[in-house]
Symmetry: none
Subunit: 368 residues, 2 copies
DNA sequence: ACAGGAAATGAATCGACGC
DNA sequence: TGCGTCGATTCATTTCCTG
């Protein structure tokens, strides 16, 4: 009993809290395979990081800038590798990670992700609607940041709410370039002096799209570089649980206050459009069993070019082919595959109707 | 004298030619510090598994060429490091490099660039106006590719034609995200069978912006993965010298023919469609980049009293005036302001057409 | 010849489930 | 774990085809 409690306690996730400390140490203290999504906005101040994990450079013969850069890059790489490994241990097998960065660090982060065994799904460009201009006119306006979305491993069944994102985009498939304004105005948090509380606060619109797209309500979202808690705030609003890790007390304080004032959206607002894939499977044979189609009844192909007869066991028979609605459709069309539900039609009262309509009727009954 | 000749010969650059062979070996055979700009479109190391079909059951023509196959990340990294080192040796101290890639390879390329001592100036996102959708609804539409622009070393005085780019963008500072269509239609080169000559031909509009922005007339531009020679074609049109390196004979042949038919600013006649939609701002420079108007082409005023020439950066030059289409129109008319879009016309097939027609064409494409 | 609809196509790491 | 079956899934543009 005591052991049980202890075990439970040790494995219990500190949900909806902000943990203080170094993110690598804190992550390593949490139970493995317990988190659904990680969103990370790591530091990219390469030069300042040079002294954190500086490798032994005693036998270096070149003391030029190139080596300096390399030592700095090496330190950053080690830091990146360490926190990505700790993060990967935390992820459930079907979990995923998002990392955001700029050209200063994102290439090293992306390579490290691949080296650690993550499987990149997309890189997504946040195209800033109102970026700061390049005042010196020596380069292009730095108008975007890059996010990398990766699953824990190749072949993992990551979460992707395709239909919800498509709806967000007015019915068109969501692209890898997102046009969103930067965080300013009332959303930008201020400290007691009225200065911005954090130099790189991310807009909630960005996290909204990330979390709607790659988590479900009730999922656990961890942010190892919590800052002022944008990830937590949006997670809370969307009915997800969050875990924040932040080293700086000043940021934690701002985030605590922010989250205390954040409310979850109504349950209805959290409902998103789902894909057909999520709906229960209905065997075609059920339509015959229930008498919605009679054995011997003739079905017509969508394009009107083919026909086939329904058999009592829920298979079809056409010219020289028999099998499932899918197999017969594919064979007649000479196609590698075919969705028989949308391919075949039947006649009722002089009208030609797809058989998928009957499946929808059954599904509607099942939902009651 | 003989020595002189020999030295000269050894150091002479094979300008405006396509060299056959492995790019690393060829680059190492060329004199160091002799090239102003390198544009590289290396293999992306796509790791495709099975076939992919569209919802209509047609098969996607995948990039499965042998030149894109690497045994491991380590092998790809070695290759990347080697060609980047050879390229860097070729660059003049104030030279620069552009590399294009996708999430499959660009992070490794970016890290290698930094490791080799290059200094990243920007990452630039090519946002495709008409990308291929994600057919299975499992990820985001892969709607962009990433280019990295880097100088040979930190502190180098790289070329950046700020004003020219600003003019191309109708007076607004050029951003790090560029919206341009993919290469298809008449620009897409075909082989003798009528199939695409190269699976990944890049659009000339992309190279136009790169070369206008980061080279000057007379500069030497090298492309170690020349393919069908888009870099060379645009360089020639813009009055830059090019050197191409290509391993595959089939590609070299196509490129040779293409370049033989390329003239300074000589482009195919455009097709004008009159489809009319709504409002996004279209910079006049885009008409030039996209080849709808060619630099040097003459525009006529609506009333027939004035004329002006198009420049490569999207400005006009008339009698004693130069500037935007609006500025030049206003100056020539002695008016406080002028709508250049309705004021200026161009000639096609003997007919005089307002340039606004071209803007409408672009807007029709943009109205996504 | 022209208009309108159908077909083709582009750097793609593009299932889930049951037996 | 491997294999067979079910069945979900596309946007912009150009080129071809038919009337």
């Amino acid at each position: 009993m005591t052991t049980m409690t202890k075990t439970k306690s040790a494995n219990a996730l500190p949900l909806n809290t902000i943990l203080a400390g170094d993110c690598i140490e804190v992550m390593n203290s949490l139970p493995e395979a317990s988190v659904d999504l990680i969103f990370a906005d790591p530091p990219y101040n390469l030069q300042l990081r040079g002294d954190l994990h500086r490798p032994d450079n005693s036998k270096v013969d070149a003391v030029d800038d190139a080596w300096d850069q390399f030592s700095s890059f090496a330190a950053y790489d080690r830091f990146t590798q360490d926190w990505l490994a700790a993060a990967r241990r935390l992820l459930k097998p079907n979990g995923a990670i998002w990392v955001i960065g700029s050209y200063h660090n994102i290439f090293r982060v992306g390579a490290a992700l691949q080296n650690e065994g993550y499987w990149i799904l997309n890189d997504v460009v946040w195209r800033k609607a109102n970026p700061m201009p390049n005042f010196r006119g020596k380069r292009f306006t730095n108008a975007h940041e890059t996010m990398i979305w990766a699953s824990k491993a190749e072949g993992a069944k990551y979460t992707f709410n395709y239909e919800a994102l498509k709806s967000l985009n007015e019915g068109i498939q969501m692209r890898s370039d997102w046009v969103l304004p930067i965080c300013n105005g009332g959303e930008r948090l201020k400290d007691d002096n009225g200065d911005k509380a954090h130099p790189t606060q991310k807009p909630e619109s960005l996290l909204h799209r990330v979390l709607v797209g790659s988590t479900n309500p009730g999922d656990v979202v961890l942010d190892p570089f919590f800052g002022t808690g944008t990830t937590g705030a949006v997670a809370k609003m969307l009915g997800r649980d969050y875990i924040g890790i932040e080293r700086e007390e000043a940021y934690r304080k701002v985030a605590e206050k922010r989250l205390a004032n954040t409310r979850k959206y109504d349950r209805e607002a959290l409902m998103v459009s789902t894909s057909k894939r999520a709906e229960p499977r209905v065997p075609f044979g059920q339509l015959v069993e229930r008498g919605m189609l009679r054995p011997g009844e003739e079905l017509l192909s969508m394009n009107g070019r083919h026909k086939a007869k329904v058999r009592a066991d829920g298979t079809l028979i056409g010219d020289d082919v028999k099998g499932s609605i899918h197999q017969v459709g594919a064979a007649l069309e000479g196609a590698p595959s075919c969705n028989g539900w949308t391919y075949w039609c039947f006649k009722r009262d002089g009208k030609v109707v797809p058989i998928d309509l009957l499946r929808q009727q059954i599904r509607a009954e099942m939902a009651n």
